[in-house]
Amino acid sequence: MIRIALNGRVGDLDLDVAFNAPGEGITAIMGRSGSGKTTLLRAMAGLDRLTGEVTVSGRVWQDATRFELVHKRGVGYVFQEPSLFTHLSVQGNLDFAVKRATKAVDRAEIIDLLKIAPLLPRAVSKLSGGERQRVSLARALLSGPELLLMDEPLSSLDQTARQEILPFIRVVGARVPVIYVSHDPLEVSRLTERVLYLSEGRLSERPAVSLEGLSQAEIEALARQALGG
């Protein structure tokens, strides 16, 4: 179980959010740019400081009296743009995570899961955008996170690469609970049915909408409605 209650001001945005998510599968948070999606995710990771409570799988990451630093939280984070360490090879990037992992993760299995074995000796600069995000996913998993946060991990990729990587994200979601932030209803509909809507720093009251079985036009209409567009 993941319990989040966070509030505070960041720049112009006044964020006040509370929700629970199950400790498995993918939970998506949708919203327009500027709605506070990234701020919320960063606060959950401890990268930015908001007041409130974050509890993941029974472990308190932050509450009224305590604030665990980012590296003490069992968090994994996949950033919007590929953020592999450029001074290390693919192998080096994975080693970085394995060396500091809080719990043992089967390295060979993860490499197999994301099909990155042929990439291991390569330089980060020699990878395509999709390959980079796959390595980022593997690296995040290898650190043994209790919760994986993904901030629009497909936004820097072209259409082909997006289609290619979506199944990998589903596979990852089956292993570790994921909070997935996106503004793209189609992308989200292919990942999960559990969707929360964020608008101007508030989660909307409406219950999670099932997108299964709807046509693309219907999904887009729903999303426009939900986003107040």
Binding site: L47, V70, H71, F85, H87, A97, R100, A101, A123
Partner: protein, 225 residues
């Protein structure tokens, strides 16, 4: 002449690593977003660029000479003066070359941005761990530039070392002063010899460091040269 060359190389070889160590935390601190105090500190650090070396040398001479507040602090340790000593020269060089070490390292830290440190934190690296294993290697080129600049700057120093060193052969006489004296005595042969040697040496040092950097970056990035 050999003594002067030895003193100069020793001075540069001591100053460069010591200054890199001093400059790194300053550069890191200045590279973080922050208050107006940073602008003040940045200006103070940059002062040696705009001040005439003689002005800098004069104040250093006052600070390192007997009866200065600094020496009063060091007196109990048996140090009466550092003026006209090799240690004094090192201190002078550190101050004089400080901006040449801080600026490239600061630029490299700023170019890196905050993202790599954030990524490291989400991979369970503490601040210190991330600094050592991510920030330092990412800023590698900044350190190389700083090292080259400081080394070259120290070798070529004239005004400051003349003021606080006093050109004592075997202790504080460096080659830039030696060249000046050779020319004054119309000893053109020696001036030519030292100047030419200095040029060739500087070229070799620069080339070597650039080649090392190329090899190094290729290796760590996973490409076999």
């Amino acid at each position: 002449m050999i003594e002067a060359i030895w003193i100069t190389l020793l001075l540069a070889a001591v100053t460069t690593p010591v200054l890199l160590i001093i400059a790194t935390p300053i550069a890191w601190w200045l590279a973080q977003k922050g208050s107006w105090i940073k602008d003040v500190v940045a200006a103070v650090v940059a002062l040696p660029i705009v001040l005439p070396p003689t002005v800098l040398g004069f104040y250093l001479l006052v600070a390192l000479g007997p009866n200065s507040p600094l020496m009063a602090v060091l007196q109990p340790f048996g140090v009466r003066t550092l003026a006209f000593t090799f240690t004094g020269l090192v201190i002078g060089s550190l101050v004089y070359s400080l901006p040449f070490a801080v600026q490239p390292i600061r630029n490299a830290f700023e170019a890196m941005g905050s993202r790599p440190m954030e990524v490291a934190a989400t991979l369970r690296a503490s601040k210190w761990d991330a600094f050592i294993s991510v920030a330092l290697p990412q800023a590698r080129r900044g350190f190389l530039t700083a090292a080259i600049l400081v080394f070259a700057h120290t070798i070529g120093e004239f005004g400051v070392v003349l003021m606080i060193g006093g050109s004592i052969p075997g202790q504080t006489e460096v080659i830039s002063i030696r060249i000046y004296q050779a020319v004054e005595q119309l000893n053109w042969a020696e001036a030519h010899l030292i100047s030419g040697g200095l040029m060739a040496f500087s070229f070799v040092v620069l080339m070597t460091m650039l080649i090392i950097d190329r090899r190094f970056s290729a290796r760590t990035a996973g490409i076999r040269p």
